[in-house]
C-alpha cells in the first residue's frame, strides 16, 4: 500500500526544511475575499488578488512570521511553520480587538482546542482514493487496522476501536452500527476534505464517550470564486479493480458556494501470493453534495450524502463450529479456493448510509458565533450467510438505524481566550427485522440522548495555554427483545430483571429492557511552547461510555467466529482516564513528535471465554461480556530527517502495553510493536517528481491471553481431544512498498498527476494478528497501482 508519510499537524504548527511555495487566501469576517490585503511573510510582501488569493515563492523552511493588513480590519499576526508547499486560509476580523496569535496549519484555524491530534495528509488521501477509511488512517502513528478479511477494515486508535472510537463527520457522529468489530465505517474517504485523529478523550464538543479517541472528518472548503474540481481513476492489479471519483466545487460566487462529489469502487477477488481469496470482492458507491449561502452575518445551507457498499466475505471463513475452525487452522489453507471472479456471493455484507443536513451559522459579533445544525442519518445493514432452502437469499441480520441529531454551539473568541459551549439532542431508532428467520444479534430499540458541554481555553502566559472542559450526557434506551426462557434463567436475570418482562411467548419471554445513564466527562490540557525547538502538550481526559447494544443484549451464536456471545444486562458504563503528553522537537534537519500516553479504563467491557455449551451443531465456546479494569500504556512516535531538498527519511511507530488488571493478563487483539520507515526523493524541477520507498515492520505480538479451545476432532475417523489454538498471534513480517508521482501543469493551470505504486513488492506471505480471518487465509499479495488525477 502506498502509504508514505504524513504530517502531524499541531495547533502551533510544524517545522521542516527546503524551499517551498506558500499560497493562501484572505477572507473578511463574512467569508468575502479581501482584494488588496497586504500579506507579509518574513521580509517579503504581496497583495491579495481579486479573489483574495496570494502566493509566495521560494520560502525557506522554518518558522515565519506572517501578518496581514487591510483597511478597516484588524491586523492579523500569525506564525507559520513551513514544512512543504502550504495553502493558508487567513480570516480578518473587523472588531478593533487585538487577536491572539493563531495557528495556521495550511487549513482553517483549528477550533478543537488543546487535544493531541494528527492529520492525514491530503496527498495520502488522494493516493489512497481506492481504499477504505481505515486504510487511509493508518498513515498516522498509533492507528492500526482491525480487519475482517481483505474487505472490511476498522480503525484502531492506540489499541481501542469500535464503540470506543467514534467517527465524527462534519460535526456529527456517524451512527452506522459502529459497535460491531466487523462493521467498517460507512464512509467514503474521497468525500472528506480533511481527516484527523484525536488521540485523547479531550474533544468534548463531539461527545463524552471517546475512550480510545476520535476520528474527525471535515468537509472540503473552497474559497476561490471559480469553479474547481478533480477527476481520478485508480487501478489496482490485486482485485483487478479500482476506483473512479469526480468532484466539482464552487466557492463563494455571488454569496453561494457548493460542492458535489461522486465515486465508485469496484473490486473482484483479491489474491494472496499462492491462491485466490474466493469471494473477497467489493463494491462501493458514494455521492455527496452541499450548498450554502454566505451572507453578511448568516451562513446557511444544506448537505446530503449517500454511501452504499457491498463486501464479500471469504467463502472459506464460513464455519459452523469449533471442529470446522480446527480444520481451518491446521490445514493452513482455505478449504475452498476457486478461480478469480468479480461476483459477490454469500456470505456478504451490504450497507447503506444516508445523511441529510441543514445548518445555520450566525456571526453574533466579530468575536462571537453561533452554529446550529440538524442532521438525519439513515443506516441499513444486511448481513447474508450461507443458508438453506428458501432462506438462501434472506439476510441473517437486517438492521435499520435512524438517527436525528440537533446540535447548537456557541463560541466566543477574545484576545486571550476561547470559550465554547453547546447542546446536543439526539433521537435514535433501531429496527432489527424479525423476517430474517434468525434471532437478531441486537434488538429493536429507541434511544434518546442529550448533552451539554462547555470548554474554556486561556492563554495564561506568553508561552502557556491552558484549557478545561466539562460535559454532561443523558441517555435513555428502551429495547424490545425476546429472550429464550432457558437463556433468561442461565443469565440469572430472574428476579432482578423480571420487571422487563411484558409477555410470555412460549419458550421465550417478550421483554422491554430500559436503561438510563447520566454521565459526566471532563478534559484539561496545557501547552508549553518552550522555545523554537520544543513544545509540549499535556492532555487529560475523562470519558464515560455506555454499554452498547451488543454488550447488553447479545445472546447467541456468532456464525463468523464460531462462538456463542452473551451480553449482560448488568453492565454499567465504562470510565476511561486518559493522559497523553505530546512532545514536539523541531530543528534542522530533524523533527520529532512523540506521544506517550496512559489510559486507565474502569469497568472496561470485553468478551471473555467462560466455558462451553453444547447444541445440535456441536460444542461451542461461550464468550461473555464482562467488566474489568484495563490499563493501556503506549507510545507513538514520528521522526523525520531532511538531509537536503531532495532526500528525506522518516520512521514512525507505535507500541501498546495493555493489561487486564483484574486477571493480570494481557488484553486480546492489541496491535503489536510496529515501525514504518520511508525514504523519499523529490525532484521538483522534473514535473514535481516525488518517489518513496517504504518499509513496514510488524513484529509478532507476544502479549496475548490464552483463549484456546478444547474440542474433539475426528482423526482417522475417531474422535480425539485437541486444543484449537485461536490465541497464538502469527509471526511478524516486513513489507516493502514503493510509489512515485509526477505532475504536469497545463497553461490554464489545470494539472495532471500520474501516480504509480507497488505494495507488498516481495509478494510476501503473511498473516495479520488484527485480522479476524487470520485463521483461514493469508493476506493479500503484491498489488500494482496506477492512478491518474486531473485537477482544474
Amino acid at each position: 500500500m502506498s502509504r508514505i508519510f504524513y504530517v502531524i499537524s499541531l495547533l502551533w504548527g510544524y517545522l521542516l526544511l527546503g524551499q517551498h511555495t506558500v499560497t493562501g487566501i484572505v477572507y473578511g469576517s463574512q467569508q468575502q475575499p479581501l482584494e488588496g490585503a497586504h500579506i507579509h511573510l518574513s521580509d517579503q510582501s504581496v497583495n491579495a488578488q481579486k479573489d483574495g488569493t496570494f502566493q509566495f515563492r521560494n520560502v525557506p523552511q522554518g518558522k515565519h512570521k506572517v501578518f496581514v493588513t487591510y483597511v478597516g480590519y484588524l491586523r492579523k499576526d500569525t506564525l507559520i511553520v513551513v514544512t512543504q508547499a502550504q495553502d493558508l486560509v487567513l480570516r480578518l476580523q473587523k472588531d478593533p480587538v487585538v487577536l491572539q496569535e493563531v495557528a495556521v496549519k495550511g487549513n482553517p484555524i483549528s477550533n478543537k482546542g488543546l487535544v493531541v491530534e494528527a492529520k492525514v495528509k491530503t496527498v495520502e488521501l488522494q493516493r489512497n482514493a481506492a481504499r477504505s477509511l481505515a486504510e487511509v488512517l493508518v498513515e498516522i502513528p498509533g492507528v492500526s487496522i482491525l480487519r475482517t478479511g481483505s474487505t472490511i477494515a476498522k480503525p484502531v486508535i492506540q489499541g481501542l476501536h469500535s464503540s470506543r472510537v467514534p467517527v465524527v463527520v462534519n460535526g456529527i457522529r456517524s451512527e452506522d452500527q459502529q459497535w460491531g468489530v466487523d462493521h467498517a465505517p460507512n464512509f467514503d474517504s474521497n468525500t472528506a476534505g480533511k481527516i484527523s485523529v484525536i488521540k485523547g478523550a479531550g474533544a468534548l464538543q463531539y461527545g463524552g464517550d471517546a475512550i480510545g479517541g476520535l476520528i474527525l472528518i471535515e468537509p472540503h472548503v473552497f474559497a476561490k470564486d471559480t469553479l474547481s474540481g478533480s477527476a481520478v481513476v485508480s487501478l489496482h492489479s490485486n482485485g483487478r479493480g479500482g476506483a473512479v471519483n469526480a468532484a466539482v466545487h464552487r466557492g463563494n460566487f455571488c454569496d453561494w458556494a457548493w460542492n458535489v462529489q461522486t465515486g465508485m469502487k469496484y473490486f473482484g477477488d483479491r489474491e494472496t501470493p499462492d491462491y485466490v481469496l474466493s469471494n473477497s470482492g467489493s463494491r462501493e458507491y458514494s455521492f455527496s453534495g452541499d450548498v450554502k449561502h454566505i451572507g453578511k452575518k448568516v451562513v446557511w445551507g444544506a448537505a446530503a450524502s449517500f454511501y452504499q457498499s457491498q463486501m464479500a466475505i471469504l467463502t472459506a471463513s464460513h464455519i459452523g463450529n469449533v471442529t470446522d475452525l480446527y480444520y481451518a487452522i491446521t490445514s493452513g489453507q482455505p478449504y475452498f479456493v476457486g478461480d478469480f471472479g468479480y461476483g459477490i456471493s454469500n456470505p456478504k455484507q451490504e450497507v447503506r448510509h444516508m445523511r441529510g443536513k441543514l445548518f445555520l451559522n450566525y456571526t453574533l459579533s466579530d468575536s462571537e458565533s453561533w452554529n446550529t445544525q440538524y442532521e438525519m442519518q439513515y443506516n441499513q445493514r444486511f448481513e447474508y450467510d450461507i443458508r438453506r432452502g428458501q432462506a438462501r437469499n434472506t439476510p441473517s441480520l437486517d438492521l435499520t438505524l435512524t438517527t436525528h441529531t440537533v446540535l447548537s454551539d456557541y463560541k466566543k473568541q477574545t484576545e486571550k481566550a476561547v470559550f465554547k459551549a453547546g447542546v446536543m439532542g439526539q433521537y435514535q431508532h433501531n429496527t432489527a427485522s424479525p423476517d430474517t428467520g434468525i434471532r437478531p444479534l441486537i434488538p429493536t430499540y429507541e434511544k434518546v440522548d442529550f448533552g451539554l458541554y462547555g470548554v474554556y481555553q486561556y492563554a495564561i502566559a506568553p508561552k502557556w495555554t491552558a484549557e478545561a472542559g466539562i460535559r454532561y450526557d443523558f441517555s435513555q434506551m428502551m429495547a424490545q427483545k425476546f429472550y429464550l426462557k432457558s437463556r433468561w434463567n442461565e443469565r440469572n436475570y430472574s428476579p432482578q430483571f423480571d420487571h422487563f418482562i411484558v409477555g410470555d411467548a412460549g419458550t421465550q419471554w417478550n421483554t422491554r429492557p430500559e436503561f438510563l445513564f447520566h454521565n459526566l466527562s471532563a478534559s484539561a490540557g496545557i501547552r508549553w511552547n518552550a522555545n523554537a525547538a520544543w513544545d509540549f502538550l499535556l492532555s487529560l481526559g475523562r470519558a464515560v461510555r455506555n454499554p452498547n447494544p451488543s454488550e447488553l443484549f447479545s445472546d447467541g451464536l456468532h456464525h463468523a467466529t464460531g462462538m456463542i456471545e452473551l451480553g449482560d444486562l448488568n453492565l454499567k458504563q465504562e470510565k476511561g482516564l486518559k493522559t497523553a503528553l505530546e512532545i514536539n522537537y523541531r530543528s534542522t534537519p530533524f523533527t520529532l513528535t512523540a506521544t506517550p500516553y496512559m489510559n486507565r479504563v474502569q469497568d472496561f467491557m470485553y468478551l471473555r471465554p467462560v466455558g462451553f455449551e453444547t447444541t445440535i451443531r456441536g460444542a461451542f465456546p461461550v464468550w461473555e461480556y464482562q467488566r474489568t479494569d484495563a490499563l493501556l500504556l503506549g507510545l507513538d512516535w514520528n521522526a523525520q530527517v531532511r538531509w537536503n531538498t531532495h532526500w528525506s527519511y522518516g520512521v514512525m511507530g507505535a507500541m501498546v502495553y495493555a493489561q487486564d488488571q483484574t486477571t493480570d493478563t494481557p488484553i486480546i487483539d492489541i496491535p503489536p510493536l510496529n515501525f514504518t520507515q520511508h525514504i523519499q526523493f523529490e525532484y521538483p524541477q522534473w514535473h514535481g517528481l516525488t518517489t518513496q520507498l517504504r518499509c513496514l515492520w510488524m513484529t509478532q505480538q507476544h502479549r496475548y491471553p490464552n483463549t484456546n479451545i478444547d474440542a474433539s476432532i475426528v482423526v482417522d475417523n475417531q474422535l480425539v481431544p485437541v486444543t484449537v489454538d485461536v490465541s497464538t498471534p502469527p509471526p511478524g513480517y516486513v513489507l516493502w512498498d514503493w510509489n512515485a508521482a509526477i505532475t504536469w501543469v497545463a497553461k490554464n493551470k489545470s494539472e495532471w498527476v500520474m501516480g504509480l505504486g507497488v505494495q507488498n513488492i516481495g509478494n510476501t506471505r503473511y498473516r495479520n494478528y488484527l485480522n479476524r480471518q487470520r485463521f483461514f487465509a493469508d493476506e493479500m499479495g503484491r498489488n500494482i497501482q496506477v492512478q491518474l488525477r486531473y485537477n482544474f
Partner: protein, 194 residues
C-alpha cells in the same frame, strides 16, 4: 399506575423535550411493537438415526429444543444393537420448535449437492456405507448401510456439513477430514452392542 418520583419526572420531561425537538416535522415511520418472536424456520432441533436390521429397529435421537440456547441436547437410544449385523439406516432432521414440527430432510435431499452426512463410530463398533447419491453421483448420507461390530459400547458422531468439498480425498467414502464446509449439525449418540 404508581406515582412517579421526581427523578423519573425529570427524566420523562428531558426525554419529551428531546423527542419534541428532534422530531419536529418528522414522523417515526415504523411501528416498533414487534410482538411476535422471530420464526426460526431454518433451525434443526432433532436428529434421528433409524437403524433397521436383524429383526429390530433401533432409533437414536438427539433433541435440542432451545436451539443455540444454553440447554444441551437430550440424547436417547431406543435400544441396543446386535453384533455383526447389517442394518439399513436413515437419518432425518426435524425442526420441532415449530408446531407442527417441520421435516428438514427433504430440503437437504433437494440440496444434496451442498450437503453430506458423516458417521464416525468409536473404533470397532462397525462401518457405515452410503447408499444414496446426489445428482453428481456423490453421497448425501441420508440413507446408508451399517454393519455393526463386535459387542461393546461407544459413541457415534453424526455430522451434517453444508457446502463440503465432496471431491476432496476420501470425502465421498465418508472421511470428514478434508471435507471443509460448515457444520450444521454435530451430534453424539451413545451406542451399545450386545
Amino acid at each position: 399506575m404508581k406515582k412517579m418520583n421526581t427523578l423519573e419526572k425529570v427524566q420523562k420531561s428531558i426525554r419529551l423535550v428531546a423527542v419534541a425537538a428532534l422530531t419536529l416535522g418528522m414522523v417515526s415511520c415504523s411501528d416498533d411493537d414487534n410482538n411476535t418472536p422471530v420464526n426460526e424456520e431454518e433451525v434443526i432441533t432433532t436428529v434421528t438415526v433409524r437403524l433397521t436390521g436383524g429383526g429390530q429397529v433401533v432409533t437414536l435421537t438427539s433433541r435440542d429444543l432451545d436451539g443455540d440456547g444454553p440447554n444441551a441436547p437430550v440424547v436417547t437410544a431406543s435400544g441396543n444393537l446386535t453384533p455383526n449385523t447389517t442394518y439399513t439406516g436413515t437419518v432425518s432432521f426435524l425442526n420441532e420448535a415449530e408446531t407442527p414440527a417441520e421435516d428438514k430432510t427433504a430440503e437437504i435431499q433437494a440440496e444434496g449437492l451442498e450437503h453430506q452426512v458423516f458417521f464416525q463410530p468409536t473404533s470397532g463398533l462397525g462401518t457405515f456405507t452410503y447408499t444414496d447419491s446426489d445428482s453428481s453421483g456423490r453421497p448425501i448420507g441420508l440413507a446408508f448401510n451399517y454393519v455393526s461390530g463386535n459387542a461393546g459400547t461407544g459413541n457415534l458422531t453424526v455430522t451434517l456439513r453444508h457446502m463440503p468439498n465432496k471431491a476432496a480425498a476420501g470425502v465421498a467414502a465418508g472421511d470428514i477430514t478434508n471435507a471443509g464446509g460448515s457444520t450444521d449439525v454435530q451430534v453424539q449418540y451413545s451406542i451399545t452392542i450386545n
